[in-house]
Symmetry: C2
Subunit: 112 residues, 2 copies
DNA sequence: CAGAATCCCAACTGATACTG
DNA sequence: CAGTATCAGTTGGGATTCTG
């Protein structure tokens, strides 16, 4: 399961459909940077895990909506918490990385 | 940052050193299944992110302890929440997957 | 519009051997 | 003990093309 959470696309999808159902193309557009292949795979996996439902409307053109299940909603909470943490501490982490990288550059004292 | 959380090894390490600092070999043994290479890389990244401290004791044999920073501890909480969720809903997810896979096998009705 | 299939390169990872 | 270095195998993910 952690592998699914670890998948950044899954997290983004969950966040996006948390409030309302979304169409495939809508997700693709809103996420931006995801290939349709990855979006398809991500949604399949989430569906397989019982986290989202897939509703096909057989019209022309076809239409598919994705929505969180109850299970999906219960997951969305801790995921959201993690997201908030990441957002809140982004600056600290960037700073830490910069510090670390600076130190690693010249392992000897007064280098750069 | 999500990429770090997604890394299963990172999560395990964080969980393990949450209560007390641990030595390299201790982590390797307790995690089991991780190569020393991956453990090294994982710890490096966590250190770079400012989530763990690395304390070298230059004795013979050498000794290195890893410990969570304050930042690391603040991350451990939401991570723990997520872990709890995963554990609590493991059965539901397995069931959902089994159902999905069964359905996928024979897309036609009464197949298996 | 939504998705399946194919190709192909890059990144991650494990096993092994060597060092301070 | 705690790494680093190297090699080879597996996987991930993007771009492209084709359908109902």
């Amino acid at each position: 399961m952690l592998s699914r959470i670890g998948d950044k696309w899954s997290v983004l999808v969950i966040m996006l459909i948390r409030d309302r159902s979304r169409r495939f193309s809508e997700l693709k557009r809103d996420i931006g940077g995801i290939s349709q292949r990855m979006l398809t795979l991500t949604l399949r996996n989430l569906e397989r895990d019982g986290l989202v439902t897939r509703t096909v409307t057989p019209s022309i053109p076809p239409r598919v909506d994705y929505e969180l299940t109850a299970l999906g909603h219960s997951l969305a909470e801790p995921v959201q918490a993690l997201g908030s943490w990441a957002f809140a501490h982004m600056a600290q982490i960037d700073a830490a990385q910069a510090r670390y990288d600076a130190g690693a550059a010249g392992t000897r004292a007064g280098d750069p």
